[in-house]
């Protein structure tokens, strides 16, 4: 058995072990240039097939709530945002990245949620989501990679 003193030390050290894991959930700062974020977040590479899944799922991207996408198995698709078929022939990766990360940078009255915005700029966030962006940096890059396949 571990003595009480050692237990306390272990407990006090726990955050050091856990925090790098938590960082995967956290916000990765980005730089916008014009209407684009040219550099991938955290230098990560996106995976298009994972991105498709994130776009489809209601608990992740839920892109289909507002947009039409070539995901026929998804049933009802929203009409609030523009259809995204062929988006990659209209926008480049950097432009898509900014629109997904924080469209309100371009259009302050936008209906589109920011998927990777500095959480300290958000208002009255529920406990379960506090301090986290909707999608982490990897998930955001996955979605960008998927959308770039929609030529």
């Amino acid at each position: 058995m571990v003595c009480r003193y050692c237990q306390r030390i272990i407990i006090s050290l726990l955050p050091l072990v856990v925090s790098p894991l938590a960082a995967a959930e956290g916000f990765v700062p980005w730089q916008a240039v014009g209407d684009s974020i040219p550099q991938p977040l955290g230098g990560l590479t996106g995976d298009a097939s994972r991105g498709r899944e994130i776009a489809r799922r209601k608990d992740l991207g839920n892109c289909l709530a507002c947009h039409r996408l070539p995901i026929p198995e998804a049933g009802f698709q929203g009409t609030v945002g523009p259809p995204l078929d062929g988006i990659a022939s209209r926008l480049n990766a950097g432009q898509i990245r900014l629109r997904v990360a924080d469209e309100s940078r371009r259009i302050p009255t936008t209906v589109m949620p920011p998927f990777h915005k500095d959480p300290t700029t958000l208002n009255q966030v529920a406990d379960d989501y506090y301090g986290k962006p909707v999608l982490n940096a990897q998930q955001l890059e996955d979605v960008v990679a998927y959308l770039m396949t929609l030529q």
Partner: protein
């Protein structure tokens, strides 16, 4: 010629005039759902009206009933007064909602323990009372002391909340008629509250609906009967001034 010009001007301006008219959520329903709302026997919200009706005729701790003053079927209630809520309460220095008014009577005139705001019984009483004014145009007076609360509600309506960074106006002022997945967005008018939601299968008070909206923004809701909800109710009801009360409306 002048007459023709005048008519032409009216025709030109009419879309602008129409654009300012609030549109009830009823207009976004499919025909069979409209028929369900209109039919007293098919409208599932009528069960709540009946429950409220029973409470309305239940003696309080002092033996008195709501119906002693207001009539067995609430026929002595003035629909015009019901349509004015929330009204300014000079003693509070704040707006008073219809639900708060019902709860006040329940405690003050029937000598009962007041209900917890938003509880089933209180919402049932509110639904019954507001149903008495069905068809009466909403008529919230925001000219006098109500003005600052209306403005506070309007500011909240335009405030972004939660991880989704969403504000009411973003959807309900800009995208009414569009679809979120399979669900149609309305103007977010309040003339049908408390209303029956087919999605959840239950009667929903305005505050519960606002809570649901805030949760969908991934925001922390306010406490029940918080000033924020009351101010929003003032703004939202006044925003729909002129729309007929539909309580209990049927919505998706």
């Amino acid at each position: 010629m002048a007459k023709l010009l005048k008519m032409g001007m009216m025709l030109l301006l009419s879309p602008l005039i129409w654009a300012d008219q609030p549109k009830s959520g009823y207009d976004y329903l499919q025909a069979e759902t409209q028929a369900m709302q209109d039919d007293e026997f098919a409208n599932p919200g009528m069960a709540t009206v009946d429950m409220g009706h029973a409470l309305f005729n239940t003696p309080g701790n002092n033996g008195r009933r709501c119906s002693d003053c207001h009539g067995e079927d609430g026929e002595k209630l003035d629909p015009k007064k019901i349509a004015r809520y929330p009204i300014y309460n000079p003693e509070l220095g704040r707006p008073f909602t219809l639900q708060q008014q019902v709860n006040f009577c329940w405690e003050e005139h029937l000598d009962n323990i007041p209900f917890v705001p938003g509880c089933t019984e209180l919402v049932a009483l509110e639904t019954f009372v507001r149903n008495r004014a069905r068809g009466e145009p909403v008529n919230v007076d925001i000219s006098g002391p109500m003005r600052p609360f209306y403005e506070a509600g309007k500011a909240l309506y335009h405030t972004r909340f939660g991880q989704m960074n969403m504000a009411c106006y973003v959807c309900h002022d800009q995208y009414a008629g569009q679809y979120l997945r399979g669900q149609i967005l309305t103007e977010g008018q309040t003339n049908g509250f408390p209303e029956y939601r087919l999605g959840s299968g239950r009667i929903t008070s305005l505050q519960r609906r606002l809570e649901e909206c805030l949760r969908s923004f991934r925001a922390e809701p306010f406490e029940r009967d918080a000033d924020e909800y009351i101010d929003l109710e003032v703004y939202l009801n006044a925003r729909g001034n002129g729309l007929p009360i539909e309580t209990p409306a049927v919505r998706y």
